[in-house]
């Protein structure tokens, strides 16, 4: 007698839960930044995500339906007349079929993945007629320092880039490693001390984009957020010129103070000390030690600092670097 109300309650709960889950998948209050790319890299990654998801779903969804069907069909109920074969435990043909289905799907997916892996390798420069903007990124405890070597300016916790121009990020860390992520422009890359990683991105639309540190780096890691302002070429040039005119310079001592653990508001500097980024990258390299990540290290020299700059352009051969003063 009380079977019916129970079944109704169960049905209502199931429908409510499923509705809730569907709502959470398509809930539009938050921004699905990964699915709202504003540049070619983010766009390609979005396409790849959709492609790989649909490939995998092609396999999963029928199996899901089959699961529900089999469980319902072969439930042990008095009125269930389904066939019962307790000793049927082997069928080579069937097994061959379902060994080959995942093999084929994974094979296709593997080819797609390999292609995209080479295509989207973050250290690969982007094809463009424009000359790329270089930004040197340093993750600190718990803030981001961005240096523009060609413009000779620096910012903390904010990035400005011109629209439609490739950006070459060179990334390192002067603190525990972090990960530099601007979802709408493209995927993340780690920042690690002793190395200069490279990431090429481009923004095709003006706007303000969310960026953050993605890898846990200690107490206030959660506050390592920054805004990325994408502007027209003209606005960008004005912004640079303004900083050059109005802001204070970043000195070596200023950097050392900045590098101390603590939080920081967005900030701007009108100049950067010669070769600071190279110094940060090679700060911890012992004289004579070879670097494990050779090839990720070429850094762009600071404008007008030809001496120290050109010397380091050869990249990771740091064996003759003078390390005094920082160890």
């Amino acid at each position: 007698m009380n079977k019916k109300p129970k079944a109704i309650i169960a049905l209502v709960l199931t429908v409510l839960t499923v509705a809730l889950l569907i709502w959470t998948c398509f809930y539009a209050g938050g921004k699905y930044v990964v699915f709202d790319p504003k540049g070619p890299i983010g766009q390609a990654q979005k396409e790849l995500i959709i492609l790989s998801t649909s490939m995998a779903a092609l396999l999963i969804v029928p199996v899901m339906i089959l699961t529900f069907f089999i469980i319902w069909r072969y439930r042990d109920a008095p009125d269930n007349k389904a066939k019962y074969q307790p000793h049927w435990d082997d069928n080579k043909k069937l097994e061959t079929v379902w060994w080959s289905i995942p093999i084929v799907v994974i094979l296709i997916l593997a080819i797609i993945t390999a292609r995209y892996t080479y295509l989207l390798e973050p250290s690969k420069p982007m094809a463009s007629t424009q000359k790329p903007v270089t930004i040197q990124v340093t993750s600190l405890d718990w803030k981001w320092l961005f240096m523009y070597p060609e413009e000779g300016i620096a910012t903390v916790n904010e990035i400005h880039i011109p629209k439609g121009v490739p950006v070459r990020f060179e990334l390192t860390s002067d603190a525990p490693m972090n990960s530099f992520w601007i979802p709408q422009l493209g995927g993340q890359i780690y920042t690690m001390s002793g190395m200069a990683m490279k990431l090429h991105l481009q923004a095709d639309q003006e706007g303000t984009y969310f960026g953050s540190g993605a890898n846990f780096s200690g107490e206030h890691f959660g506050q390592m957020r920054f805004d990325v302002e994408v502007q027209s070429d003209e606005e960008y040039k004005n912004w640079v010129a303004n900083i050059k005119k109005q802001s204070k310079p970043l000195t070596k001592d200023g950097y050392l103070a900045l590098a101390k653990p603590g939080l920081s508001q967005p900030d701007e500097y009108s100049s950067i000390p010669d070769g600071l980024f190279q110094e940060i990258v090679t700060k911890y390299v012992v004289d004579g030690a070879s670097n494990p990540h050779a090839g990720h290290g070429e850094v762009t020299p600071t404008k007008g600092t030809s001496k120290s700059g050109t010397e380091d352009e050869s990249g990771m051969d740091m064996s003759h670097m003078n390390m005094s003063g920082h160890n």
Partner: protein, 658 residues
């Protein structure tokens, strides 16, 4: 003098947080309570003789499971605290530092001190019984393994009230976990807690490999072995290759912190990347260590509760071994975003995807085990069924994550968190719960009541989806893992709130399970398993009474078929009875106090190393050495015989009550 003591006490004991004072009080009260109860009921001797010094695999298994449930509670409370903190923006329940400690201990406890011991508990309960053995190959070592795990776990948990918890993440990436950035003792607790229990895990792996190779009942060829035993075997193969890597990695980190080494530091040539490679060479196989036995349980449970033989037994076995081998070729997918270059990323992306093939095959085989069966929905089967759709989702998202260039967007985000919780809760925890319900009558002699179990099941399951599905979305909205708080401007609030509600639903599910056990104990006479075979089992453990007598099998069975017990029941129904061999005196291992005492010394040594106190670690190490010497020289008298008459009497008593 008084000032000095005060100063010491304030750094030694963690202070300043009401939650920690609460923990202090509850620990003290629990201790007093335990001591009082044991004294009042005069149970000290019973505790010592029956539990602390036992080498019986069934009792060791029960202790593992009890400890694991306790740790599930601790890890679960951590999880709920985190979810409260994240329910809405700008919550200040937990200071970031405290939050970091909580997610670190949550991860470490759930993987190493909950999943692993629960798994070892099930190994101990089921494997010797399934293969018709009287015990594991090395009963003394088995007890030692348990006590090492237990002391390691206690040492790790102690950090909450003494010295401070680790806060560098459950894998403790350097340089964050080095002295420079984590100067406190929390990280030392992490190293020694894991290190001590890790020795036990490695020994368990060896013990069960030898047990399975050498102790199978006559006639049980490899291809007649129960599939759960196969899964344990493949899991143990991974353990013996993976755990030494963990041991070495943590030893190097310890040398950095304690001995002024520079293996993983920033300066003097240290290389943090080395640690990250090493820890994942253990860490990814570890996932398969814990999931393979769950696959074994699903295979057993689905076949028993479909009243059908397991479909494609050989495929299942090969698939498990493929997974075991492939698990060692996946570690670099944990750092696709570290700039290893396209060659490395492409290789590890593909080697990761390949694991989906044997896993997918297993899902098909489970489905076709149910096909043309008669499915009964008892609690173990419900968990096994719930696993399939969930694991399909976890598998789908796993393949998505393995696509390297796409992973640049998923990595370190909540999408990843949702994926691995799906795999570890929906795959591992669901499986172990199914196994726990399944073997419960064999452990304790009564089945658990179904009604509260079903309530628990639905709360857990609905809670599980409500908690983790929103996290996939949050990941795609740019929310990263390990955030202690976030702003209103992010738009993450509603989904986080939903997720928190889901976590609490799972918590309610856990409470129902506690209730279920309590009701089971209260009504155990009514729920008594008098047949020894309450589910219509297929394998040997169901051929003996519940709970199993201390010698397991009065006579060692002669195995003729895969699913031997099922085949024998068939024959008995047709009136054909196997010839019983006569009961003889049974050779048994004696209890030993050495495993317990030695582990206590390990604990003392570990505690000494945590604080760098030589007056602790030197005596501790000496104690360990003395225990080893005692074991070598004075353990010749380590066995005894149960006379045949006594076995006959016991059997008659148990069977008589049938």
């Amino acid at each position: 003098m008084l000032d000095k003591i005060k100063e010491f006490a304030s750094t030694f004991f963690v202070t300043g947080d009401p939650m920690i004072y609460g923990a202090d009080v509850s620990i003290a009260l629990a201790m007093i309570g335990i001591v009082f109860v044991l004294t009042y009921f005069k149970k000290w001797g019973w505790l010592w003789k029956n539990w602390l010094t036992t080498v019986d695999h069934k009792k060791v298994g029960i202790m593992y499971i009890l400890a694991a449930i306790l740790m599930l509670f601790r890890g679960g409370v951590d999880a709920l605290l985190m979810r409260i903190q994240l329910a809405t923006p700008d919550v200040t329940l937990l200071h970031p530092e405290h939050y970091n400690q909580i997610f670190t201990t949550h991860g470490t406890i759930m993987i190493l001190f909950m999943a692993m011991p629960l798994m070892f508990g099930l190994f101990n309960i089921a494997v010797p019984l399934q293969i018709g053995a009287r015990d594991v190959a090395f009963p003394f070592l088995n007890a030692l393994s348990f006590w090492l795990f237990f002391m390691g776990a206690m040492l790790f948990n102690l950090s909450f009230v003494i010295g401070g918890s680790p806060d560098a993440g459950w894998l403790s990436y350097p340089p964050l976990s080095e002295l420079q950035f984590s100067p406190g003792v929390g990280q030392n607790f992490y190293i020694w807690g894991i290190q001590i229990s890790g020795i036990g895990s490695l020994a368990t792996g060896i013990n069960f490999i030898v047990t399975i190779i050498k102790m199978r009942a006559p006639g049980m060829t490899w291809m007649k072995m129960p599939v759960f035993t196969w899964s344990v075997f493949s899991s143990c193969v991974i353990i013996i290759f993976a755990f030494p890597i963990l041991t070495v990695t943590l030893a190097l980190l310890f040398l950095d912190r304690f001995g002024g080494g520079h293996f993983f530091t920033l300066d003097f040539g240290g290389n943090p990347m080395m640690y990250i490679n090493l820890i994942w060479m253990w860490g990814h196989p570890e996932v398969y260590i814990v999931v393979l036995p769950a696959f074994g349980i699903y295979s057993e449970v689905i076949s028993v509760f479909s009243k059908k033989k397991l479909f494609g037994y050989k495929s299942m076995v090969y698939a498990m071994f493929m997974i075991a081998i492939l698990s060692f070729f996946t570690w670099a997918h944990h750092f696709f975003t570290m700039g290893s270059g396209a060659d490395v990323n492409a290789f590890f992306a593909i080697s990761t995807m390949v694991i989906a093939i044997p896993t997918g095959v297993k899902v098909f085989n489970w489905l076709f085990t149910m096909y043309r069966g008669k499915i009964t929905f008892k609690t173990p089967m419900m968990w096994a069924i719930a696993f399939i759709p969930n694991f399909l989702i976890a598998g789908l998202t796993g393949v998505m994550l393995s696509v390297a260039p796409a992973d640049f967007q998923f990595h370190n985000s909540y999408f990843l968190i949702a994926h691995f919780h799906s795999a570890l809760i929906g795959g591992v925890v669901f499986g172990y719960l199914a196994g726990l319900y399944y073997w419960w009558p064999k452990m304790f002699g009564f089945t658990l009541p179904e009604t509260p179990g079903k309530w628990a099941f639905w709360f857990w399951n609905i809670g599980f989806y409500v908690c983790f599905i929103p996290q996939y979305s949050l990941g795609l909205m740019g929310m990263t893992r390990r955030l202690s708080t976030y702003g209103w401007d992010t738009g993450w609030q509603p989904l986080n709130l939903v997720s928190t509600v889901g976590a609490f639903l799972m918590g309610i599910g856990f409470l129902f399970q506690v209730l279920q056990i309590l009701l089971g104990i209260k009504n155990f006479r009514k729920l008594k398993d008098t047949t020894g075979d309450p589910w219509g089992g297929h394998t040997l453990e169901w051929s003996i009474p519940s709970p199993a007598p201390e010698y397991n099998f009065a006579t060692i069975p002669q195995v003729e078929e895969r699913d031997d017990w099922w085949a024998e029941k068939d024959k008995r129904a047709k009136g054909i009875f196997r010839k019983q061999s006569p009961i003889e005196a049974i050779h048994m291992p004696k209890n030993s106090a050495i495993p317990f005492i030695m582990s206590v010394f390990f604990f003392i040594a570990g505690f000494g190393f945590v604080f760098g106190w030589s007056f602790f670690y030197i005596p501790g190490l000496i104690g360990v050495a003395i225990c080893m010497i005692c074991r070598s020289f004075f353990s010749y008298d380590g066995d005894y015989y149960i006379p045949a008459d006594e076995v006959k009497r016991t059997e008659a008593a148990i069977r008589g009550s049938v």
